[in-house]
């Protein structure tokens, strides 16, 4: 059985090997960019089209989620949060395409996503409170907490990575095991469960990113 910790090389350009998750990620990025360009090409205030209404209601939903979770104005965080959600959702749901393995089932993709969240927490924290204010946040409620807060920064990003990887990869793995044991149609319920898990995990990843950034932005407690 193929190890879930390594990914298959599709093609190589000289010394650089392109693995399946990399290709799938780039296809997904291109699809997302093309879709966004297509939908936002004709935005109108008067009599908006169907796609625009759908897009606006989706954005309003995300805005209200950000407002509830982070308790601040959503505008500066909306691009990052929306992109994270759409990318993780698209990556998780791409397991439905036959022969495709979701990019988030490779730990490198999840590591990159968690790294984005890790860096953006620091950037947004410093932008909102200044370097001194952000660093002071590590010493709340007292300086005894400094090592714990520093460790927390790393471990929670690590947990973010492992959570997404474990959930998506185990879904794909279970389908592969069931398919190798039983017939053609038996994995279908597992795939349905996989769709549900994929949507929930995309939501959870986004909400956790919001929570992390929110705690870094707010004054009280890092």
């Amino acid at each position: 059985m193929k190890s879930p910790l390594e990914s298959a090389v599709i093609f190589s350009l000289g010394p650089v090997h392109f693995t399946q998750p990399v290709v799938a990620t780039w296809v997904l990025i291109t699809a997302l960019v093309a879709l966004s360009a297509l939908v936002t090409r004709r935005l109108r205030v008067e009599s908006p089209g169907r796609a625009q209404v759908l897009l606006e209601s989706f954005l309003q939903l995300l805005q209200s989620q950000i407002r509830d979770t982070m308790r601040c104005e959503p505008a500066p965080f909306l691009p990052l949060i929306t992109t994270l959600f759409l990318f993780v959702l698209g990556a998780n749901l791409s397991s439905l395409i036959p022969g495709n393995e979701p990019p988030t089932a490779a730990i490198e993709t999840d590591a990159a996503l968690a790294l984005i969240v890790f860096v953006s927490v620091i950037v947004y924290g410093i932008r909102a409170r200044g370097v001194a204010g952000y660093l002071r946040g590590f010493a709340t409620p007292s300086w005894v907490m400094i090592p714990l807060n520093l460790i927390e920064q790393v471990t929670r990003s690590f947990a973010l990575m492992v959570r997404l990887f474990g959930n998506v990869m185990s879904g794909a793995f279970v389908i592969a095991v069931v398919l190798s044991l039983a017939g053609l149609f038996l994995p279908i319920p597992f795939m349905a469960l996989d769709v549900l898990t994929g949507i929930v995990q995309a939501y959870i990843f986004t909400v956790l990113a919001m929570v992390f950034i929110g705690t870094a932005v707010h004054e009280e407690g890092a």
Binding site: R163, F165, N167, V211
Partner: protein, 84 residues
């Protein structure tokens, strides 16, 4: 026939890690969902806040089970004590 004890012990401990690592999170998630149901029955108007907090809490609890799964996978597929 020579028995490779490292492989035997690795497979057994991978199974043990998943089996016993699933018990704690399962009990904890059951308690969390029961608590959320209780809160929903008392305050149905706070359902959005409760369900969001519940989902995030469940994800946090679930992480311990996922760690066990990753340990099992490392033992099975990336065991440092088995020479390739």
């Amino acid at each position: 026939m020579e028995v490779d004890w490292i492989k035997v012990v690795s497979i057994a401990s991978a199974a043990f890690a998943v089996a016993f690592g699933a018990i704690g999170p399962a009990l904890a998630e059951g308690r969390a969902v029961a608590g959320a149901m209780d809160a929903l029955a008392r305050q149905p108007e706070a359902s959005s806040t409760i369900s969001r907090t519940l989902l995030v809490g469940l994800a946090m609890i679930e992480t311990t089970a996922i760690y066990c799964l990753v340990i099992a996978l490392l033992l099975l597929f990336a065991n440092p004590f088995i020479a390739k």
